[in-house]
C-alpha cells in the first residue's frame, strides 16, 4: 500500500503499474512561486477487491490564493480518505458505489476539506483568532484548488472532477477516451474550483467500463495547455502506451519527468502533474 502526496522521490515504492509526479512549472521557478499542484496514488484491498485510486489537484496560484499549495495537498489527502470510506460503506455493487459517489461525494468531501483547511490554518496562524472563530469564504479562498480523481477496480472506472484538468483512458489501439468530456462553456482560462460558490453542484462524475489493456491518466491543465492541440495531447498519450508495450511501464515512466519539464518550459509555464495507472488486464477478476 502506498499513499503519499507531493513530488515523487526515488525512496518511495509505488504500487505496480502506477506512477505519478508533480513538476514545478517553469514560470513558478522564474518568479519564485512554490509548486501549487499535488497528486497521489493509492492501491489497496477494499470490499471491491484491489482498488487503485489516482488524484491530482491544481492550486490556483496568484496572490489571492496564497495558500493554495496547501489547499491542493489537503484536497488530495481528503479525497483519498473520502473515496476509501465510500468504497467500504457502499460495497454491495459498483452501481451502488457510483450512485453514492454521484450524490454524496461532493458535499462530504467539501466539508472534510474545509475542516482540514481550518486545522491547517489554526496550526499555522494561531494568532488569527478572529478569522478562526468565524471562518469565512475569505479564509477558504486562499486555499483554492481544483480536484480530479479516478477509482478503478476490475473493469470499472469511476471518476470525478471539479475544475480543469484531464482524465483520459488510452487503449492499445490508440484510441483516447475522455470519461468526462471537456466543458465547452469554460474557455479563455476559466475554471471551477472547490471554492466556487455552490461548488458541490459543479462536480462532474463518470462511470466507464474498461475492456482491454489501457492507461488511465490524470493530469493538471499545465500539461494539456502546453500541447499544441488535442491531437498533440493524444499523441503524447499514445506514445506512452506504445512505449509501455514496447519496453515496460517502469522503463517508460523514467522519461516522463523530462518530458513534463519540457512541456512547462516550452509551453504552459505552469506546474504539471501526472498520475498514471496501467490496467493491463481489466477483465480478470482479482481474487478476493
Amino acid at each position: 500500500m502506498s499513499d503519499r502526496t507531493g513530488p515523487a522521490s526515488a525512496s518511495v515504492r509505488l504500487p505496480a503499474h502506477t506512477w505519478f509526479d508533480v513538476r514545478r512549472g517553469s514560470s513558478h521557478v522564474r518568479t519564485g512561486l512554490p509548486c501549487q499542484d499535488a497528486a497521489a496514488v493509492w492501491r489497496g484491498r477494499l470490499p471491491q477487491g484491489q482498488v487503485t485510486i489516482l488524484v491530482v489537484a491544481d492550486g490556483h496560484g496568484d496572490s489571492k490564493y496564497d495558500l493554495s499549495e496547501h489547499g491542493a495537498r489537503l484536497a488530495v489527502q481528503t479525497a483519498l480518505h473520502c473515496l476509501r470510506s465510500f468504497c467500504r460503506r457502499f460495497n454491495t455493487s459498483s452501481s451502488l458505489l457510483y450512485d453514492a459517489i454521484r450524490h454524496d461525494f461532493a458535499h462530504r468531501l467539501t466539508r472534510q476539506w474545509r475542516q482540514a483547511v481550518l486545522r491547517h490554518y489554526s496550526e499555522n496562524f494561531p494568532q488569527d483568532v478572529e478569522l478562526l472563530n468565524r471562518p469565512s469564504i475569505n479564509l477558504y479562498r486562499r486555499y483554492g484548488t481544483t480536484l480530479l480523481f479516478s477509482l478503478a477496480f476490475d473493469d470499472c472506472l469511476i471518476g470525478g472532477q471539479i475544475g480543469d484538468g484531464d482524465m483520459t483512458v488510452t487503449h492499445t489501439g490508440g484510441d483516447v477516451g475522455r470519461p468526462i468530456p471537456a466543458a465547452e462553456r469554460l474557455i479563455a482560462n476559466e475554471t471551477h474550483s472547490l471554492i466556487s460558490a455552490d461548488s458541490i453542484r459543479l462536480w462532474r462524475f463518470c462511470r466507464w467500463t474498461l475492456h482491454e489493456p489501457c492507461l488511465i491518466c490524470l493530469s493538471t491543465d499545465g500539461l494539456s495547455n502546453g500541447m499544441a492541440s488535442d491531437e498533440s495531447f493524444g499523441d503524447f498519450l499514445r506514445s506512452l502506451v506504445r512505449n509501455i508495450e514496447q519496453y515496460s511501464f517502469a522503463e517508460t515512466v523514467k522519461v516522463v519527468p523530462g518530458f513534463l519539464d519540457r512541456v512547462s518550459a516550452g509551453g504552459s509555464g505552469d506546474d504539471v502533474s501526472l498520475a498514471l495507472f496501467w490496467q493491463a488486464d481489466p477483465r480478470r477478476k482479482k481474487k478476493k
Partner: protein
C-alpha cells in the same frame, strides 16, 4: 527535426507549444483620418509592437498572434485572416480614404472569434478599436454587431478597448463606448498625437499582459432568465491619467 534514427529507449511524442493570445487591431482609415492622424497611428502601432514584446518577456509562455482589420467604406483584413506571430509582425502603413464601416469591421472580427476557429486553451483575446468618426453604416447594423459580440463566447471573454482619435465632436462617444467591455476604462480619448501614441501603447501592452495573467474562477451570478452579464474575466490596470485642459468657465 532531423535526429539520427537511433531508438534505444522510450521516446515520448506530442507537439509542445505556447498558448496563443489572439490580438486584433480594428483600425479606422476613413477619409477623415487622412494626413497627420493616419501617420501618427501608423507610427504608434509600430512603436507599440516592441513594447508588447518587452512587456511579455516576463510571460514567455504566451504566444501573441497579431491581426488587423482596416475599415473605411468597407472592412477588410489589413493583416490576416492568418494570424502573425508578434515577433514576426510588422505594421504595413495604412492609407486613409472613404467612409466608416465600423459595423462591418466588427462582423469581420466576429467571424474569427468563432468558437470553432479559436483554440479553447487560448488566453482571452484582445481587440483594440481605433476610430475618429461616426459609423456611417445603419445604426441597427452597428447595434446588431455589438450585440453579437456581447453574446459570442469569445467576444464576451475578449478584452475590448476603444481609442477615439481627435476632437470629441467628430466621433460618437456613446456608440464607441458600446464596443468596450471595460467601462472602468471607457473610451480612451486621444486628442493629441502624443496621447494617441501613449494610449495605443498602454492599451495593447496592458490588455496583453492582463489577459495572460493567471486564470479566473468562473462564477456567474446571472439573473434568472435575464440577459446575464456573464463573466468578464480580465482585470485591467488603470489607464494613464490624463488631465483634460479645456476652455471652461463653469465654477465648481
Amino acid at each position: 527535426m532531423s535526429e539520427e534514427f537511433i531508438n534505444d529507449g522510450p521516446v515520448l511524442e506530442g507537439e509542445i507549444t505556447k498558448r496563443p493570445l489572439q490580438f486584433f487591431w480594428l483600425v479606422d482609415c476613413s477619409g477623415s483620418m487622412r494626413g497627420k492622424k493616419i501617420a501618427t497611428l501608423n507610427q504608434a502601432i509600430r512603436e507599440a509592437v516592441p513594447e508588447i514584446l518587452r512587456a511579455l518577456e516576463a510571460h514567455p509562455e504566451v504566444q501573441v498572434m497579431m491581426r488587423a482589420i482596416a475599415f473605411s467604406s468597407s472592412a477588410s483584413w489589413h493583416v490576416g485572416p492568418e494570424a502573425v506571430k508578434l515577433e514576426d509582425f510588422t505594421w504595413p502603413p495604412l492609407h486613409a480614404d472613404g467612409y466608416t464601416a465600423t459595423a462591418s469591421a466588427i462582423e469581420l472580427l466576429l467571424e474569427e472569434l468563432d468558437i470553432d476557429k479559436m483554440n479553447r486553451r487560448g488566453f482571452p483575446p484582445v481587440c483594440v478599436l481605433l476610430s475618429d468618426g461616426y459609423c456611417t453604416e445603419p445604426e441597427e447594423q452597428y447595434e446588431r454587431a455589438i450585440r453579437k459580440l456581447d453574446h459570442a463566447p469569445w467576444g464576451k471573454k475578449a478584452v475590448r478597448l476603444v481609442i477615439a482619435i481627435g476632437d470629441g465632436s467628430e466621433y460618437d462617444e456613446q456608440a464607441l463606448l458600446r464596443f468596450t467591455n471595460h467601462p472602468e476604462v471607457g473610451v480612451l480619448k486621444a486628442n493629441t498625437p502624443g496621447k494617441l501614441v501613449e494610449y495605443i501603447k498602454w492599451a495593447s501592452v496592458t490588455a496583453s499582459v492582463s489577459s495572460s495573467q493567471s486564470k479566473t474562477f468562473y462564477n456567474d451570478d446571472e439573473v434568472e432568465g435575464g440577459e446575464g452579464e456573464g463573466a468578464r474575466n480580465v482585470i485591467l490596470a488603470s489607464a494613464p491619467q490624463s488631465i483634460q485642459i479645456e476652455d471652461a468657465n463653469e465654477v465648481f
